[in-house]
């Protein structure tokens, strides 16, 4: 399939040119015909199989079968030379191995210049890195003075990625390859590299994407997370310390300020502001002799181990936990309830984390720990919720951070009245604000919803934005 082929540039060919093309085409087909005969051993193997497959690769760079053949040839040579090396420590074999590796990387690099988005070529390069790794291990075992130095070779791979990203900063093949290299030999510096790409071009979404991955992996290591939660009062799926988060937010605000018409910057901003959202209890909906329904400030999942129940200080056995959106229905053995206490447990504080927090499904494990007391009187029940002081402070800090970001987006709206992105953004931020507000003072919720609906109205007027209708309906349910 061909992309980006302008019709106006389509040539009208002369008869001579048509003839030449047809001839060239015939040559290609004949070469391929011969190649397949070679492949199936229907004719003798060419004397230099590598030279032959190189010719074929240059003629038809997209045909995977050619590289399959080449890999078979290479593997045979690697095995043979490896064996010579093991058995006789042949210097000649050693030199040949290095030469094979180096020239293969060079060949692929040449082909990649013309075909930077070829899955076939990137797969072949990856295969070569893995073979190089094996050969490097073999050489080291044999105690040879290993001048191959895999690390140097990998450094050059990073260099190649840098050069190719300079040419096309959004080429996901390069980004993926570079990311994969870090599993072979991590050089770190992903923080620096992604930041550099962003500073080169604030709308490089690929850089933001990999930055988000870097944060999630490096700051959410299970060994440090428990400690970080206790010292930094982390309340959401926060991938980095709050102070660092604020720094990063300033960076993306700058990007939005410089390129407000780009979409990607809003996505990254939205994510940063969203990960820090506190997740907590808002009210008791219902109580009976065998169940209690508690509500949270957002939809819940994975909270099976998040509760402890007590009736008059006696621990209650939880029979079942059912989730319905923002409500959790906890069932216990039928009995007379005198004084119900519910302890909400933050599973991470309690149990630590076995895996890095990469999925939103893990969100519910970050519930704000608190204690709910339910008392009964003639009119029904009353409940009170007690949150530890440090967590309250953290929630208030987050609330302040949200207000700052809301102010920022409002300024963008002032400058960019016909741009739908800041309007969509403020609706997301107001959603975060609403959730946080429900934990602080739920009486203010109505004002937030009202403000959101006003922005929905504005959004509807811009470019007949289809999404406005849904957002309006979403906010109207509040």
């Amino acid at each position: 399939m061909m992309h980006g082929q302008s019709k106006s540039k389509a040539e009208t060919l002369s008869e001579e040119e048509i003839k030449l093309r047809a001839e060239k085409g015939q040559q290609i087909l004949e070469s391929l015909d011969y190649f397949f005969k070679v492949r199936k051993n229907q004719v003798n193997q060419p004397e230099d199989q590598l030279a032959f497959s190189e010719l074929m690769a240059k003629l038809c760079p997209e045909i995977a079968t050619i590289y399959n053949y080449r890999r078979e040839v290479l593997q045979t040579k690697f095995d043979h030379l490896g064996q010579l090396l093991s058995e006789s420590k042949s210097i000649e074999a050693y030199k040949q191995l290095l030469k094979l590796i180096q020239s293969e990387f060079m060949l692929i690099a040449i082909l990649l210049k013309q075909h930077p988005k070829s899955y076939t070529l990137w797969t072949h390069r990856q295969w070569m890195v893995l073979r190089s790794q094996e050969i490097d291990q073999l050489i080291t075992q044999i105690n040879q003075d290993n001048q191959f130095k895999l690390i140097e070779a990998i450094k050059q791979e990073y260099e190649l990625c840098s050069k190719m990203l300079d040419r096309d900063e959004r080429n996901f093949h390069v980004w993926n390859y570079r990311n994969w290299l870090s599993s072979i030999c991590a050089f770190g510096k992903e923080d620096e590299f992604t930041k550099k790409k962003i500073e080169q071009n604030f709308s490089n979404f690929s850089a933001y994407h990999f930055r988000s991955k870097f944060f999630m992996k490096n700051y959410n290591k299970s060994e440090t997370i428990l400690e970080r939660i206790k010292t930094e009062q982390i309340l959401g799926l926060i991938p980095l310390p709050f102070s660092r988060l604020k720094e990063e937010t300033e960076l993306i605000q700058q990007a939005i300020y410089i390129q407000p018409k780009e979409h990607g910057v809003y996505l990254y901003h939205r994510w940063l502001v969203g990960v820090v959202q506190p997740f907590g209890f808002t009210k008791v909906e219902k109580v009976s002799n065998n169940s209690v329904t508690v509500q949270f400030n957002r939809a819940v999942s994975n909270v099976e181990n998040s509760f402890e129940l007590f009736n008059n200080e006696n621990a209650l056995k939880i029979m079942d936990i059912k989730i319905e959106g923002t409500n959790v229905i906890i069932s216990f053995e039928d009995q007379q309830i005198l004084n119900l206490k519910i302890k909400i447990i933050n599973q991470i504080y309690q149990n630590g984390s076995l895996e890095t927090m990469v999925s939103e499904d893990e969100f519910s494990k970050f519930l704000v720990p608190s204690e709910i007391n339910i008392k009964f009187d003639n009119e029904g029940f009353q409940f009170s919720n007690t949150i530890q002081q440090e967590y309250n402070e953290a929630i208030n800090q987050i609330d302040k951070y949200l207000d700052e970001n809301l102010e920022f987006i409002k300024q963008v709206i002032e400058e960019e009245k016909q741009n739908r992105f800041p309007y969509i953004q403020i609706l997301y931020l107001l959603q975060f604000k609403l959730r946080t507000q429900k934990l602080i003072d739920s009486s203010k919720s109505k004002d937030i919803v009202k403000e959101a609906l006003q922005h929905c109205e504005q959004l509807k007027k811009i470019q007949n934005d289809h999404q406005a209708q849904f957002l309006y309906e979403f906010w109207s349910q509040f």
Binding site: M1, L13, I18, K24, L32, E62, F205, E262, S359
Partner: protein, 321 residues
């Protein structure tokens, strides 16, 4: 060019076989894409409801050739003599359904199943490349062949969920940037695994934000619109029952704008058409407004005409009415 009508693309499609294309070097260099090309061409003709206009002789010829593309390992190459690959095996199966011919499905199913790794992902071939495209090929093919028991469905779904990103969308492998074409592969796979337990609204919002001012969809932020995304992402919206989340009329108009007055559909307005974009343009139009353009209903999960899928009991529960 302001197009509001669907041009008749049948002559363009029927002529793809003949010498006109032999003038293009692209034709020779895409020799390895013959099976895929066959699928795009015949399926496009299928969208127009005109498969019966292909002569029996031609169909026989194609069927014979297709059978020869199957290798000893059970898989199919992109053409005769080419090594097996899961994508070409999938295309071959789809094409055989369109042509109404039988292949050695037992062996093909075994080849596909053998591509699944322990972590649930699928390799393209024995050389080890892993990608969500291959997961989709695996799930789709084995569902069509009623051989789902040969693979671990749960693990397949779990692998795809690792491809989800901070923006709510999906990339091709874990850690890869979200991309419109991979949305199709990942949503299609999860749909066929009967496990859509991810934040659907978030993904639908991301897809919504792919629609450009001209109505077309782009694959990623800050990229150009392309007609093929009309299929990759709109079909996903259909599977997720969020069709209304983009401006359907605007997308329709964009696809029509991408038509070439001489027949065929291009990636964007005023570019050269090709069979790939012609198929995806027609398929998307069929989903968007098939009745209006008198297009054959196509299924968003399997990308085959519904009229063919009706005859396969194994896939009944996956077909939306």
């Amino acid at each position: 060019m302001n197009q509001q009508q669907l041009i008749n693309h049948l002559p363009y499609l029927m002529a793809l076989d003949n010498s006109k294309d032999l003038e293009s070097i692209g034709y020779y260099l895409s020799e390895h894409l013959k099976v895929a090309g066959g699928y795009w061409t015949i399926n496009a003709i299928g969208c127009l409801n005109k498969i019966d206009q292909i002569s029996e002789e031609k169909k026989q010829q194609l069927s014979q050739w297709l059978k020869q593309c199957q290798n000893e390992d059970g898989g199919f190459g992109g053409n005769t003599n080419h090594d097996s690959h899961i994508t070409n095996t999938h295309y071959a199966i789809l094409l055989s359904f369109l042509l109404g011919c039988e292949l050695n499905y037992e062996e093909a199913a075994k080849y596909i199943a053998s591509r699944q790794r322990k972590d649930g992902s699928f390799e393209g071939d024995k050389w080890g490349e892993v990608d969500a495209r291959f997961s989709y090929c695996g799930l789709s093919s084995l569902t069509l062949l009623n051989k789902r028991d040969l693979i671990d469905i749960k693990k397949a779904a779990n692998y795809i969920k690792k491809c989800r990103n901070f923006d709510g969308s999906f990339g091709g492998i874990p850690d890869a940037e979200s991309h419109g074409a991979y949305v199709f592969c990942c949503v299609g796979t999860l749909y066929l695994c009967e496990d859509l337990s991810f934040n659907i609204d978030e993904l639908a919002m991301w897809i919504h934000e792919r629609q450009t001012s001209k109505g077309g969809l782009n694959g990623r932020p800050e990229k150009l619109a392309d007609v093929c995304y009309s299929w990759w992402m709109y079909s996903a919206l259909c599977l997720l029952k969020r069709e209304q989340w983009i401006n359907q009329q605007a997308l329709e108009n964009y696809i029509l704008e991408c038509q070439d007055s001489d027949g065929g559909i291009a990636d964007r307005p005023n570019n050269q058409p090709d069979v790939f974009h012609t198929f995806f343009g027609l398929a998307a139009l069929s989903l968007l407004n098939g009745d209006k353009y008198q297009l054959n209903p196509i299924d968003p999960a399997f990308a085959l005409p519904k009229s063919i899928l009706i005859n396969i009991p194994a896939v009944n529960r996956f077909i939306q009415s």
